[in-house]
Amino acid sequence: MRIVCPFCGERELGEFTYLGDARPVRPAAGSSEDEVFDYVYLRDNVAGPMSEYWYHGGGCRAWLKVARNTLTHEISSVEPAAGVGAAKVGA
């Protein structure tokens, strides 16, 4: 598999580390145990297009949101996680 890092360009799989489903959002402080449980433990485990977190640890150290099909491994888009490129916020 090769992932097009939005910063570095197309790179080989070995430079990246996988985390998992990027859809669940960490519940805000004060959320219930059930909400946090759902976030930490339950997965849609999609067979098909999935949004997931990958870390370009062997490259620019950006966390990426990768849209990838779990049936074909085809990648349709890659974008930085929210906090990457924060230097440009408000600029």
Partner: protein, 209 residues
């Protein structure tokens, strides 16, 4: 009271043996040079400070900091892109060491001294690309990786920064690698193994190319 000496020792001091290595008979296909004694500062923009950082870099170096994977040469330093919102400043003689740079970027960036964290190796020679193809998954073809291209990448599961410096006068490409100091000895042996079939010329230098 004892007299102390504070000699800086390169992490490659033991691994690097100046001279010829590997296949003999013809001219060495690969030249490996460790460049010792440099300042290397990581500059990371703070949140929302891109414009200020650009201004500060312009003021300090006369050029904009690289925002894409490039290495930009100025007379007394090289600015090497190392990731989104960050770059490395490579220089020597202390002018762009951590303290002066901290002042220059105090409003716009966080700085971290990496001068001792890395080893700088320059690879050139006719077989430099063939040898690097055994280590790096990057496409180093001149069309894909022209002079001034930089990459944050990995070799042997270890992060490195790689950029192509100016060619030698004879047209040979020069690839510069910044590798983590504690991995350097091990990686050096891997590089020698990769290069051995081409014949290697090994040296070290105090001069930044």
């Amino acid at each position: 009271m004892a007299e102390f000496s504070w000699i800086a020792r390169s992490p490659l001091e033991h691994a690097l043996v100046v001279g010829a290595h590997g296949a003999r008979g013809t001219e060495a296909g690969v030249w490996l040079t460790e460049i010792r004694n440099f300042d290397l500062i990581q500059v990371m923009a703070r949140r929302g400070k891109t414009a200020e950082l650009a201004k500060a870099a312009q003021a300090r170096f006369g050029v904009a900091a690289p925002e894409t994977p490039k290495a930009v040469r100025v007379p007394d330093a090289t600015l090497i892109w190392s990731g989104p919102d960050q770059f490395l400043v490579l220089s020597n003689a202390g002018k762009h060491a951590i303290e002066p740079l901290s002042q220059a970027f105090s409003q716009s960036a966080s700085l971290s001294d990496q001068s001792h964290a890395r080893v700088l190796i320059s690879v050139s020679g006719e077989k430099a690309r063939s040898m690097l193809a055994k280590l790096s998954s990057l496409d180093l073809h001149p069309a894909a990786f022209p002079v001034g291209t930089a990459a944050a990448t990995s070799v042997d599961h270890t992060s490195i920064n790689l950029w192509r410096g100016n060619d030698w006068p004879d047209g040979q490409a020069v690839f510069n690698l910044l590798v983590f100091a504690t991995f350097a000895g091990s990686l050096w042996h891997t590089m020698l193994d990769a290069a051995a079939e081409y014949g290697v010329d090994i040296r070290h230098s105090e001069e930044l190319a």
